[in-house]
Amino acid sequence: MAYVAIRGGEEAIAGSARIMDALRTMGAGDPIELDQIERQMPLLHTKVMSEGGLYHPRLAALALKQSLGDSLEAAFFLRAYRSTKPRLGETAPHDTRGMRVTRRVSAAFKDIPGGQMLGATPDYLHRLFRFELMDEGAETFDEITRDWFGNRPEGTRPTTFPKVLDTLRDEGLLPPLAEDDTPPFDITRTPLIFPVPRSAQLATMARGETGGLLALAYSNMRGYGDVHPTVGELRVGYLPVTVPHPVTGKPVEIGEVQVTECEIVAMFEKTDEGAPVFTLGYGACFGHNEVKAIAMAVLDRAISVAAQNGRINNPSEDPEFVLLHVDGIESMGFCTHYKMPHYVTFQADMDRLRAARGKAEEPSHVSN
């Protein structure tokens, strides 16, 4: 075949795939094991499940391995895998009071029923390198875990806790929770046609990309908005999942998922009934990802405030602006697509530019 611009796409793709695989395997060392990814990088690993919208620890680890550690790509693997599976059923609403809590803090109250429980967090660690970790043997690993488990007190403490906000609710400072039996909006089966209900808003953000949610929430925190949140409660733990039994219809526990949940309290507003009350923002996602849960709660509040006031003053308050731009799989994909050939459209652009320039050069043309 004669010379043609960019041809032989198939060979080029095959070659590129081989280089990617070589990049993954070359150099010293053993192949990374899926368990190692899951155990030693749990925050990255659960972030991928959260943004991928599929709680499948084993496949999430494989996704990270196959994507060379790119969290957006890894989440994308899980999303694509979802498309091959039918939706078999729906769970009933789950009460996070039943969560087996591993960490729980409130910024609103010094002491909370059940107590604050710092749990695992890097918040108060100095980000100073521990250079000894550069050469950490398997024995050190064992020693650390043995030390931790050996010194742990017997399970005398409760593992489930009441909600901090219940106390505010009891006092009437928060409006009572209305029972709502509306089936939730399923963003995986229905496209977002605005306006959308709050359940669509929460579901979209629950699998949103952490960085995207953070950037928009941060704009609100900095002054392009006025949520001024207080973290009423942030909890991390394992939530037992029940599904209706396929025959009896009775709820059956099928396992548990790790969840981060954040409830923020925002400034009060007037109600129709008279006395002003605090307002609430809610964030929750798979895995241990506190930044995402807090950002989500702030955005939930920001959007709801604007909806109540009937006026959008900032980007973070606009449901379309927020919900259509926080999905990592979609934004990453569209950003990447600009690398594809655009010969035809660019050709058409040149045609228009030349035509317009031609007109501009004509002496009869009156320029404005």
Binding site: E10, H56, R58, A80, E320, H342
Partner: protein, 299 residues
Amino acid sequence: MFPTDTMAQGHEGAEYGFAFLDEDAKRELRRSIFKAVCIPGHQVPYASREMPIARGFGTGGMQVTLALLGPRDCVKVIDQGADDSVNAANIRAFFSLTCPGVSGTTLTEAASVIQTRHRIPELPLRNDQILVFQVPYPDPLVLVEPNAATRRRMHGRADYARLWVKLYEDMVAFDEITISHRYPTRINGHYIIDPSPIPRYDVPKLHQADCLYLFGAGREKRIYAVPPHTDAIPITFADVPFTVEEFIDRKTGKRHCCRRCGATDSFLDEFPDEDGNRVFQCSDAAYCDSRLMQQEAAE
């Protein structure tokens, strides 16, 4: 509820069903396609599943194609008019991996379904052929209105005044309508569509065609259609006729021709050759190849 680990094992493609998507997803797609055909030019929302290629690479077109394909189909995939550009090759490889029995072709006349990005083939399509477009922006009103809810209302009322104003402003500023591709086109006298980033050259092919045109936007989750024998009129003013790319050599006043096959009736890619000269070549690779073959046979 959750896939078991054994399902996740095995090599690529082995545990995926025909045409990748689960059957419920295909059913939803087909219903949306029917609706789109029944209301020409109307953007039908659909759930839009994630494909294993990225958003922006043709996931909408792929879903439409996957919902259409059956084992007796013959599929062709083009990007910028060419069958072997990387993205087309990649999508075709995906179809052959996930749709056993479906045959592939590069011949426009042999395909029952053609998936395309940015072009309509030069060869007129028949009434037993479907052209599936990959669509980045399904809504032409996005040029003038960012809010989706407002745009939906405007479409319902056929309120396109602001698009006309945009065209008018172009005339005032440049004495030319500067829209080079994605040219707003009115379908069946009501809805205006974004015909996907095809050049102006291809827009007239939408009008009263024999084939069915389907448009799939994956990221934006919309499907729309231009059915056969339907009016498709690019919007313009009575005294400003719609024009297409003419490829006229300004020095000679003659039309450039394809340097491979000599065609003077095709959309041309323009690029610099090794010596820095501007050269032109058919963008539709199959059209160019078939002309070359005919010429060789005639010799």
